[in-house]
């Protein structure tokens, strides 16, 4: 690894994957993945379609399990077998399709899976209040929390998804954002990037994107995947646009 060596980190990574592999039938979706993610930084996960980005984050967020390899979280080896396991560790995922329930209202969507309860009973008022504060933190105004989510604008829907992913439930330690700017206009994308930068000061973030400009703008590091293998680990300050593209295309092999 000559061009893309990352300087030895003294800090302990929040999440490490060692030898992560996953196979779907005849396709090696992930092949011997070794990855470290540190706190207070944004790691861009780059790669062409089918490079294994989704599979990798699904393995971290519990939607898939790895066939082989270990995952360490906060220095301890963990088993992430279902989404619940990831939630409990503080791994929060904002999915590309937002995973919102269109026919249900804003509060229900925000707290889905992490409802406030006392003795098993929902605390509606508390959730409504919290929902208001989350939305105002995201600088989003929504007419009524009782509104069906499918009646919101694209930007508002993103806010609800990010609000749920980041602020509700267990405190986040690692936030995974899968294409958070997909389907958004320029202005709304800028909003999301601003939010990402802010969150990146406090949390570890994995940012998946197709947009290299955005990756350069917010991320400190990047990992490039190609055909299920990591082909480059880069420091964004030193990396160039063309270098990343050739890695993504599998032209240049960094390792």
């Amino acid at each position: 690894m000559k061009t893309s060596e990352i300087s030895e980190e003294k800090r302990q990574p929040i999440l490490s994957i060692r030898g992560g592999s996953k196979r779907f039938g005849g396709i090696q979706a992930l092949d011997n993945i070794n990855l470290d993610i540190y706190g207070n930084e944004i790691l861009a996960l780059l790669g062409d379609n089918g490079a294994g980005k989704s599979t990798l984050i699904k393995a971290i967020s519990g939607a898939h399990t790895l066939d082989a390899g270990e995952i360490y979280f906060g220095g301890k080896q963990v088993q992430i077998e279902k989404p619940e396991d990831a939630h409990n560790l503080g791994i929060k995922t904002v999915y590309q399709d937002l995973a919102l329930f269109g026919i249900l209202n804003v509060t229900v969507n925000l707290f889905a899976g992490s409802e406030y309860t006392r003795w098993g009973f929902l605390q509606r008022k508390k959730m409504d209040k919290e929902a208001q504060s989350v939305l105002s933190q995201l600088k989003t105004t929504i007419k009524s929390l009782k509104q069906e989510v499918r009646s919101l604008s694209g930007g508002q829907q993103h806010s609800v998804a990010i609000g749920r992913g980041v602020f509700i439930g267990h405190d986040p330690k690692l936030i995974i954002m899968d294409e958070p700017t997909a389907g958004l206009g320029v202005k709304q994308s800028r909003e999301v990037l601003r939010l990402l930068k802010e969150l990146g000061q406090k949390y570890a973030i994995i940012f998946i994107t197709h947009n290299l400009e955005y990756a350069f703008e917010v991320a400190q590091k990047a990992v490039v995947l190609c055909s299920g293998r990591i082909v480059g680990k880069l420091d964004m300050a030193e990396a160039s646009h063309s270098q990343i593209v050739s890695l993504m295309m599998g032209v240049e092999q960094a390792a």
Binding site: S61, A63, K82, P83, E84, H87, T93, Y95, A99, L100, F101, G102, I103, L104, V108, A112, G113, S114, E115, T117, G120, F121, L122, R124, R150
Partner: protein, 300 residues
């Protein structure tokens, strides 16, 4: 919905002078009871995104089990009822287990169970009535408080409690998430399989409760009990706002749906219309209700 029900009630009371008599209202209320309890379970399953066609057969089977045990004098009333309810719960649980385990459409699974449970009820009785039941069992369906039959009181209480729990108790409330999108619910850490499994078991149990009142009130067990009740329960729930795509439905809406169907049927009886016409009308209402719901959903 409420207005429509009141409207139909008003029309019937104008057309038929006997409608607003105490004995007629009592018979309307009694007729509603069995349907209502079943429709509550059906509503929950619809919210989960499923449906249960086996509720009527479940009524027959669990009723037969309880009444047979009582007729033979093998066990006391409380135990016989518990076993009957247990059978209904397990029947529902088998539906749920097969649907969840093998990812088969609930329509197919419960259609099979519809035949299976009805068949089992026939086998157990060879088609005969199960009668000679102890008085202490009959009181459940026939007893009254201030002129109101026990089953009516019970079904209203069950509705109120279920309405509260569905809105506020997380274990039941999560049905809305599961029904609206099971994949997303799973991603958010909700145990979708367990929720669906228990939902079908609960629906089965409600059929059992309905069966106990029915057998007690009519003083017998019979393998043809509960025939076509699934259609009325589905119709009532859909009229009340539930959809086949899941995530929607309410106890209050279903209550009004059951009431509306009961009023219409009662109107037919009072106007001396043939019982066969009732089926034609019920079927029509079901289709119209579903078509309206689907169109409404698409328009949005």
């Amino acid at each position: 919905m409420l207005l429509l029900t009141l409207f139909v009630g008003a029309i019937i009371s104008i057309l038929t002078p006997n409608f607003l008599t105490g004995s007629n209202l009592k018979s309307v209320a009694m007729g509603m009871t069995y349907d209502l309890i079943v429709a509550l379970g059906m509503t929950y399953v619809l919210i989960l995104g499923g449906l249960d066609l086996s509720v009527g057969s479940n009524i027959a089977l669990s009723g037969i089990v309880t009444t047979l045990l009582l007729q033979k004098g093998w066990v006391g009333v409380p135990l016989a009822i518990s076993i009957g309810l247990g059978v209904s719960f397990i029947t529902g649980a088998i539906n749920g287990a097969v649907i969840v385990r093998y990812r088969i459409n609930p329509f197919i699974v419960t259609l099979g169970m519809m035949s299976l449970a009805r068949g089992a009820a026939m086998v157990l009785t060879s088609g005969y009535f199960v009668t000679s039941l102890p008085q202490s069992f009959l009181i459940i369906g026939r007893g009254e408080i201030m002129g109101i039959p026990f089953p009516v009181i019970a079904s209203v209480l069950i509705s109120i409690v279920l309405d509260f729990l569905l809105k506020n108790w997380i274990s039941l409330n999560r049905a809305f998430l599961v029904g609206a999108n099971p994949d997303y619910a799973e991603l958010l850490g909700i145990n979708v399989k367990r929720t669906i499994f228990l939902g079908f078991a609960l629906c089965g149990l409600f059929s059992g409760i309905s069966a106990m009142f029915m057998c007690s009130r009519l003083a017998m067990g019979y393998a043809q009990f509960g025939l076509e009740i699934e259609l009325r329960a589905l119709g009532a729930a859909v009229i009340g706002g539930a959809t086949f795509s899941g995530g929607r439905g309410s106890i209050w809406g279903t209550f009004l749906g059951v009431l509306l169907l009961a009023l219409i049927n009662n109107g037919f009886v009072l106007m001396d219309a043939s019982i066969y016409w009732q089926k034609v009308v019920n079927g029509t209402i079901l289709i119209v209700a579903i078509a309206t719901a689907v169109r409404h959903a698409k328009r949005k």
